[in-house]
Symmetry: D2
Subunit: 320 residues, 4 copies
Amino acid sequence: MTAHPARYGPHNTADTYIDHGITEQRVDLGEIQMNYATLGSPSSPALLLIPGQTESWWGYEAAMPLLAEHFQVFAVDLRGQGRSTRTPGRYTLDNMGNDLVRFIDQVIGRPTIVSGLSSGGVLSAWLTAYAKPGQVVAAVYEDPPLFASEVRPAIGPGIRQSIGPLFDLWSTYLGNQWSIGAWDAMREGSADHLPEHLAFIPVPDEPPQNLKEYDPEWGRAFWSGTVAASCDHERMLRSVKVPAVLLTHHGRVTNEDTGFLLGALSDQQATRVRDLLAGAGVNVTYRSFPEVGHSMHGDKPELYVETVLDWVESLDLPRA
Amino acid sequence: MTAHPARYGPHNTADTYIDHGITEQRVDLGEIQMNYATLGSPSSPALLLIPGQTESWWGYEAAMPLLAEHFQVFAVDLRGQGRSTRTPGRYTLDNMGNDLVRFIDQVIGRPTIVSGLSSGGVLSAWLTAYAKPGQVVAAVYEDPPLFASEVRPAIGPGIRQSIGPLFDLWSTYLGNQWSIGAWDAMREGSADHLPEHLAFIPVPDEPPQNLKEYDPEWGRAFWSGTVAASCDHERMLRSVKVPAVLLTHHGRVTNEDTGFLLGALSDQQATRVRDLLAGAGVNVTYRSFPEVGHSMHGDKPELYVETVLDWVESLDLPRA
Amino acid sequence: MTAHPARYGPHNTADTYIDHGITEQRVDLGEIQMNYATLGSPSSPALLLIPGQTESWWGYEAAMPLLAEHFQVFAVDLRGQGRSTRTPGRYTLDNMGNDLVRFIDQVIGRPTIVSGLSSGGVLSAWLTAYAKPGQVVAAVYEDPPLFASEVRPAIGPGIRQSIGPLFDLWSTYLGNQWSIGAWDAMREGSADHLPEHLAFIPVPDEPPQNLKEYDPEWGRAFWSGTVAASCDHERMLRSVKVPAVLLTHHGRVTNEDTGFLLGALSDQQATRVRDLLAGAGVNVTYRSFPEVGHSMHGDKPELYVETVLDWVESLDLPRA
Amino acid sequence: MTAHPARYGPHNTADTYIDHGITEQRVDLGEIQMNYATLGSPSSPALLLIPGQTESWWGYEAAMPLLAEHFQVFAVDLRGQGRSTRTPGRYTLDNMGNDLVRFIDQVIGRPTIVSGLSSGGVLSAWLTAYAKPGQVVAAVYEDPPLFASEVRPAIGPGIRQSIGPLFDLWSTYLGNQWSIGAWDAMREGSADHLPEHLAFIPVPDEPPQNLKEYDPEWGRAFWSGTVAASCDHERMLRSVKVPAVLLTHHGRVTNEDTGFLLGALSDQQATRVRDLLAGAGVNVTYRSFPEVGHSMHGDKPELYVETVLDWVESLDLPRA
């Protein structure tokens, strides 16, 4: 056994966070303090932006000024991310979804369009099924891992056959609330820990800023399945009540040999999402962007804004 | 193998329900329709009554007129009970608690005193920890199985060592949403299925009215632990923010030989509840009623009303 | 709620079993009594036959005389099936596999060729990885649900996306050890309980003989995942030490829309099995029979015997 | 976030192990290579010694010469401990128990007295219930955490209310197979990670030798419950078939306030063990040693040897 250097400490020390060009605010939602940023006029339609896993509100920093010409936008830090409260043992879709229900009530205060990426896209779907009546008028699911982030999905590859082993790696080596922080050990161990199809992902020398702001217990909740233990995606999608949904589907490749999905959801899973929504009476718009990375709003903010705008204009929504 | 008669069908057929002397109403909370009854003047303080497992709102039918002299009372059917919506796969404390958060917002609309029995008492505790700021001003936990309804509690006997095997029996023979309804088989099999310390409980010839209105999947959620999978009681109690709590503790016996708890929570568990609440800065009142059965509000409504009133008057609450 | 007739009682009453043309014997393996039948000469190579789920030893009744011309055959009832012991709470691959290790030791007493169907094929794989050194000389995996019977497989569809819902139906309505036996309720409820892709399967008026001899808790163990909780198939296949394996792969269809696998394992999963075995240094023979049903040994005993014989002859095994 | 020094690497590097005065040997049991040491004459009765969690065979190093005057002793390293094979994902009582079944068959080769400490005592109980007929003639359970090492025991405190949080600490910071090895971080984090009743346990500056030889995944298997997932202790004890058992019960204190058990099993649990064994027809000898630490054979080898000898002599066993 040999000594080994370098571990990173728990979050919330002075050097965890950095400053941003948009003012951050906090609201007390009961269980958590939610951090958020807002831009745009109260006379524009309200748009709630929900980041993905390992993303803080500022993942939308480039897109927000563009969106603010058309919407009053609110970008939040979900519990366990950014500057919002850590809640050990309590990272579930239902708890995160209800945080957003309260946020819409307490901060936005009027019918809202919601748009979420990745896990945030799953929460966008959650809101279309389970929010309070009248809260959500339309929803964007931006490249959401519906089914693919479940441990035991109704269709297609689940978390073990997609990104899950990476979440397992992070939560194992970094620990809940960064309690372990064994970054270097993680970098050395990643090739052994990950299956071949993920082993190519490089672990950088230092934790990137977005990961520093992320509670690795999130990853554990996905890998173990507790995050959706009482929130089966198929059942959720059958329950959607919001009339209009835009589903964007970005780059994805399914490995023929390993079955591994590199991407948020497979074509088959996306088709199933559309069928279930249609069966629930929802007007679904599907846009495939096979050349675009997971975060369109981060990588191609103009394309994201244009895509959302085109769709919103097609809906003929009542003015707020 | 021999043929065997008599099974009871799924709920919600014409003969599932009976009429009551107080008008029932329903409200759309987003995911569920919640059934409730209300009595008393809007100028009195609001009091939310939360029934226990296998109890519908009318478990409070005798107590409500007495309470209505002092409060505007609202008694609800929790999801999966009474005339409220069944939600397969989604019976968790967090989901039920958030139903109540919405109910207070949408129906009561002002700061509320809450009082819950048994599982409803655990939800009363949930509200004191996790409701929206300002919703709950004080709370009664009426004989709540804190710790004792968990599969793996921080202290004392858990569900396997208390009432759990009975919940297992019901959910096994009756099925989720009464899909099996093998009542007679259950009566015959109960002695084999239950451990000695519960086998004395007689199974009546016919399902009683309260059980007819109960989704046996509730019982499964407790027996399997999904109900509190991401809601550890110890953590919850450390998080209580409401300033005043009344904990009533009714008849309980711990069997020296088997360790089995006949009762909602043991003395040791009650002490731990008080300590955790005190540590969170809560003003806790503890009242032990070793001679009173599990539902004081059902068995001794006058005593229940007097107990609640005495405590409320001691609090010097601001007028609504 | 309406009364409903007809339930079937627990197993092991007088009318559970029927007679067969080959004598049955029992051996005490420590935890269980194992029932089995044997045919053929001790001077022929030993062949152990392992039935599938819901199959007793007599599923091999037609094949045994044909095999006995070349082998001393032993067909067993696995724990929880046929006349072998029921073991509530203890149905795992590891326990069943170790029963077979003991059976080979105590009854066969010399190096053995093993051949198992379906779950028995998974146990055949288990023996190739985990039996005692020298016990198993070669193995047939007859249409085994490798990966496809796991809740969270390394590759391809798992139990939820294949036959699992049927196991869930059985164990729910019939109960562990046939404790509920609500056959008629099951027949009526099956369309609601099963997903579309399985709802076409007719439930007969009476339980067929093989199901009468089956402990429905088996099905629960697969549906819940306890059967393989500490026996990941991928890890098991990487650990195979027996030098020669025959993998037969029968009719299978993967539904394009639902992803549902009608069959024991998908082509992709079969390829992965072969790759893992090859990586472990095993000489794998793969035979695809897309026109043959799940049990070749039951439906086409001559083809089964011919297939096994051809392969055994190709191996140039040392004489026993 | 701050950099932090010192982690220990994976096991099996040159400096993991130390030499001992008794020769070590290895046997191939099929899945694992088992390391063991033996002493004494083949003409004496056979005695199998099963170490506890975090103990290698040499925990018996002082006792072995004393025992060897009366027995042929065999002390083993369980899978995942000492120099025996690591088996990720496969640490269960059933798998470890079956290792011992094979060891008795392959190495000892005759009826055996077994004696195990702690988790090894639970395995001693496992062998009395589930070994092959005739393998075990009598058994010592040395201070075994029956019930108390389960996540959801039939009686008394479970793993959460006893030593479990320490196992959780180790497996979290050290990682499966010492893949993380963040010893210093563990020492710093232990006070926060452990509940009060365990926080007093000091974490030394360096890993002690026994821990170096231990796979922390063992601890995870106990904390998560996978170790006994299909091996309920109550059911196991009801199934004991070996005629004579010695249960020793060492120092134990149950904290009145927290319910925490400092010790292997509570008095109530010990009584229940005795009752269940008596109900199974076993001749149980109970010896309480409230002044003796957890490992009598390590701390007071003479007392251990005398205790075992007195009991064996009282049994009037047939000569081997």
